[in-house]
Amino acid sequence: MARVDLTWADGTEETLVMRGDPPPDVATLESDRDAEWALLEALSRVDGLSVPKARFYCADPSIFGTKAIFMEFVVGGSLQAALDGGLDQEATAERFIDLVAAVAGVEPTQVPSLHCPPSWDDYIDGVLDRWHALARSHPEAQPITRYLAAWLRKRKPAPLPLRLQHADLQAGNVVAAPDGWRIVDWEFARIGDPREDLGYYNAYSGAVPPNLSQIDLDRFLRRFRERTGFGEDAVNPITFGYFTVLSTVTSVEGLVAASGSMARNERRGIPISFNTHLISIGSRNFLEAVQALEAAIAAAEEAA
């Protein structure tokens, strides 16, 4: 990502943000700029969703050395930086959950460039299949990931309508502009379960605090239900925990694939070695989450 200061032929000056691909041998996650551009164009037309406006796209990598997306430049630092700088967390939690709920309110027909699965079951089974494949993809057997994949399939929750999901929705991807926050970095967005962004946020913020959902989880989830109209049977601490694990599949796939490539002498780079830390942090967090959920499920079954 780069800031671009332009002077047009008529002398007008403008600042844009350019997004491109990192060099393939050092990239730790893969993404598709064509799909991201089509999505950004559609998102710019959705009422109630705060995103920087999509401006131009250059699909020819010979011009800028990479496919390049140009977007509105929004003045302001990230919400993560603001929180690190002491922004009030309790007040921020409500504004943040409103952003998450706004994304969860976008129906598949509003973003036609994204593939819409035939049904919720088809979609979730597809994610579960990815976990199954992921758990078998590394050159070395990964028993924690195998257990998580099997557990997720066993504890599949009740369905909700399919909606837009950002798939990397965390404070670092929110620009805290004075004229309103904007959600950025839509490269992993897809149509999926509306609880996935909630869960992903919890997983991510567990590693990169503060975690706004943990200030008052019941209040956090209640506001999400109020904003989306979803019921407590579908959005509660147990499903929140389930989607905390499930939603990270794309991130974990990228990390494990990079690590596996290094093990096969196909890729190199200090970030890949460093990111093995992230894999083990995820394993620890997810294992602990599954244990807490099993205890909660057992208590609920006993009470019933």
Partner: protein, 155 residues
């Protein structure tokens, strides 16, 4: 072969050099992030060099009887767990070369994976809990390998 200072000591000193000498001299934030990663990678390699052979042997020794119990209780042959147990037993080695011990560890990990999947599918809570205890041991080792973890760029 000179074994003192140990590999762990050498790598720990490399990490210290990165932390105390190189990082303070750097002003480029991108290079600093790379060095912060490098310092943590070196610190982890130091710990692994000191302990990973022993830790793998300990885990393998604990996994085999668990998988045997699962095979005897809920996953009699033919089953993935039984096949993985057979592979583990035929792949046991006295070699202390890292590549050989890593392969044996992989076979044990595969057997543990299959046994846990079989326990979960059978709804056997005791066997599942016993398998999860082995996972917790691995999780704790991995935590030990991140003694001073922080996200680069946010120190």
């Amino acid at each position: 072969m000179i074994t003192r200072p140990t590999t762990q000591q050498v790598l720990e000193d490399c990490a210290r050099e990165v932390r105390e000498t190189l990082m303070p001299a750097l002003t480029d934030p991108k290079l600093r992030v790379t060095l912060e990663m490098l310092e943590q990678v070196l610190a982890q390699c130091a710990l692994r060099a000191g302990h990973e052979m022993a830790w793998m042997a300990e885990e393998i020794a604990a996994i085999e009887p668990y998988v045997q119990q699962v095979v005897a209780t809920v996953a009699a042959a033919p089953s993935a767990a039984a096949d993985a147990l057979t592979a583990l037993r035929s792949g046991r080695t006295d070699s202390l070369h890292l590549e050989d011990r890593s392969h044996e560890y992989h076979l044990a990990s595969e057997a543990l994976s299959c046994a846990l999947e079989a326990s979960l599918a059978a709804g056997n809570q005791a066997l599942t809990a016993a398998g999860v205890t082995l996972l917790e041991r691995r999780r704790d080792r991995e935590t030990d390998l991140r003694p001073n973890f922080f996200f680069p760029g946010r120190a």
